[in-house]
């Protein structure tokens, strides 16, 4: 990654302030309102996901039925109304952030570890190893993501872990491709050659010399992939193949509210809004990261 620097900022002594590559990127990103908004919302969501476990009682607030208060439109006591079992929709949405965020993060972590490893090996080793890895990647990625995830999840059975695996596995190809492509660009740099010349082992070269210099596109891809993993997770749950009811996963809440859409549209409106806000802020953050980490690409 070229460390392209903007106008040097001079301090009082007329010397340029030194920043690391990521310090420089952060400095650029601070000026991007969209990215900062995204970062703020994502942080709040993470906080909500952590705190909801302590503030809400799962059995009474989240899945407990309360038929006396069923199907209430939004009001002072239930800010976003209640569903057909009298469960508070706001509480369920807040608690649901735990599912969406954890599925998004774990799925992408799976894809990241597997994809970056394979991609780095393919890019660095070349030859037959690369050929095999890339052809397998082709096979995997030529099945539409959603269909592949559907097949995997229906084979493994319905559970949160399987959902993470299904989405993670289907996101591997993108990471393989992007890592291989960036590794190819740094593989022949002098510093790699000198690492080889002083006799470092291949894994050591890949981990401490090649990957740190190919990080930017991988970071950006990770952020954007978490966003699409969240959409995939809620899509699968919407189809009844994701996280089983009565857990308040946003997609399955939507699918539950669908039966009541004519008379109680708020039941479908709010969970979808929650998905959209989450995905939107991750996308904003990802766009901002891309612009900040690689200003050459910025228009």
């Amino acid at each position: 990654m070229a460390k392209k620097q903007q106008k040097p900022k001079l301090d009082a002594n007329g010397e340029r302030k030194q920043r690391s590559q990521f310090g420089e990127a952060w400095h650029r990103m601070k000026k991007d309102k969209g990215a900062m908004l995204g970062l703020a919302v994502v942080s709040i969501l993470v906080l909500v996901a952590i705190l909801s476990n302590f503030l809400l009682d799962y059995d009474t607030d989240v899945v407990g039925m309360n038929t006396k208060e069923r199907l209430q439109s939004p009001n002072a006591k239930h800010l976003l109304g209640t569903d057909e079992y009298g469960r508070d929709i706001l509480f369920r949405i807040l608690y649901g952030s735990r599912y969406s965020l954890s599925v998004g993060l774990v799925a992408v972590a799976i894809a990241l570890v597997a994809g970056v490893t394979l991609g780095a090996i393919a890019g660095y080793k070349g030859g037959a190893v690369e050929e095999v890895i890339m052809r397998l990647t082709d096979i995997f990625s030529s099945v539409p993501n959603m269909l592949m995830a559907l097949v995997v999840v229906s084979a493994l059975g319905q559970s949160m872990l399987n959902l993470m695996i299904a989405i993670g596995v289907t996101s591997i190809p993108q990471f393989v491709r992007i890592t291989r492509a960036t590794v190819l660009t740094v593989r022949n740099q002098e510093y790699v050659e000198s690492a080889r010349a002083i006799g470092l082992s291949t894994p050591k070269i890949i981990i401490s010399h090649i990957l740190p210099n190919s990080l930017s596109p991988i970071i950006v891809q990770t952020t954007l992939r978490v966003a699409s993993a969240i959409i995939s997770a809620s899509s699968l749950s919407f189809l009844g193949l994701g996280i089983p009811a009565p857990n308040p996963e946003w997609g399955s809440m939507l699918s539950g509210g669908r039966k009541f859409i004519r008379d109680y549209p708020y039941m479908t409106l709010y969970p979808g809004l929650a998905i959209m806000i989450t995905v939107l802020s991750l996308n904003l953050l990802g766009d901002g990261l891309r612009d900040a980490l690689d200003p050459k690409l910025k228009n």
Partner: protein
């Protein structure tokens, strides 16, 4: 050029074989099989076993796979476990609906996003650009099943202008699913169009064109857009290739009788031949469309055509590398 096309077609074969094997074996891992679903509730274990024997489910998975493959190579996608039709006829019955919906969505997306993307690029940095980009990122972040439900709520249930599902009312039933699928496509395409146009707008030849007095409209349409077209075509191609497999959710929201719903229903019924067959067809469609798009480049961009023509072995490798870098 011919050799390149031939090579690409030959490379498709291992991919399709791999996909079929992958899907077949993954589905075999699934707990329960078609016999469990077909057998009456009070069936004894022996009766179920007999049914498995009849369907050929009791043999090892690889044996079944190779038999399946053998038939597939003869153009036979097999028979559905659950209904008395062949996989091919089940697929061909649904595919036109999905293709129709997909094509309409791509047309909708291209028709809206090209003007919007060009508009944003021309007013780069202004509020007009900002609004276009906000629209695009909103479209990108909206789960499409939710958008579908909202559209259905407004236009079908509240206003009653359009049907809320099915495919019986011709064009009218096509509108809502089209917008649902098309919005996500539009978002991606608008962003691509904008950034690709911005790359071109800075080029010297546009300044030259303006300097010699060419009108702004001609500068944009002829000089800029033509040169910005390659990334746009790539995205449109990927979208076209994905239409068979990408409508699952929308089809299920709008009860649209297409391939996506066929796959979901067959998955639920453990109807492995239908699922595998549909996925193989979807993958094949995807790969063939992508190949076609690669060939279209040559017509759009004479520079690429020249590359094909002068391609030695070394050149071929280089092209591969470039592609990887793009991906």
């Amino acid at each position: 050029m011919h050799r390149y096309v031939l090579k690409r077609i030959i490379l498709l074969i291992p991919v399709l074989l791999g996909v079929s094997m992958l899907v077949y074996c993954i589905l075999d891992l699934a707990p329960g099989d078609a016999a469990d679903i077909l057998a009456p509730d009070d069936a004894t274990l022996e009766e179920k076993e007999a049914l498995r024997e009849e369907l050929g489910l009791n043999r090892p998975v690889l044996v079944r796979y190779f038999e399946y493959m053998w038939k597939l190579l003869h153009g036979d996608l097999g028979e559905s476990y659950l209904s008395p039709v062949s996989v091919w006829s089940a697929f061909t019955q649904k595919a036109p609906n999905t293709l129709k919906l997909g094509l309409a969505s791509v047309i909708f997306a291209v028709g809206t996003s090209l003007p919007l993307g060009i508009y944003a690029a021309r007013h780069r940095g202004s509020w007009k650009d900002a609004i276009s980009m906000i629209l695009a990122i909103l479209g990108l972040s909206m789960p499409n099943f939710w958008l579908g439900l909202l559209l259905m709520l407004l236009f079908a249930l509240r206003l009653g202008w359009l049907p809320s599902g099915g495919a019986d009312m011709g064009l009218r039933s096509l509108i809502l699913p089209t917008i649902t699928i098309g919005t996500g496509m539009m978002a991606t395409l608008t962003r691509t169009t904008r950034s690709s146009m911005l790359d071109v707008i800075r080029q010297d030849y546009l300044r030259t064109a303006r300097a010699k007095g060419v009108t702004e409209e001609v500068v944009i349409k002829k000089h800029a857009l033509k040169n910005a077209l390659i990334p746009i075509i790539t995205i449109i191609g990927t979208m076209l290739g994905g239409i068979l497999g990408g409508a699952t959710l929308t089809e299920s929201v709008f009860s649209w009788p297409g391939v996506g719903r066929l796959i979901i229903d067959s998955l639920n019924g453990r109807d492995t031949p239908v699922v595998t067959g549909c996925i193989i067809m979807t993958t094949m469609f995807f790969s063939v469309v992508l190949l076609a798009v690669d060939l279209i480049y040559a017509f759009v961009d004479p520079r690429i055509k020249a590359q094909y023509a002068s391609k030695s072995k070394k050149g071929g490798e280089k092209k591969d590398g470039e592609k990887a870098a793009e991906a």
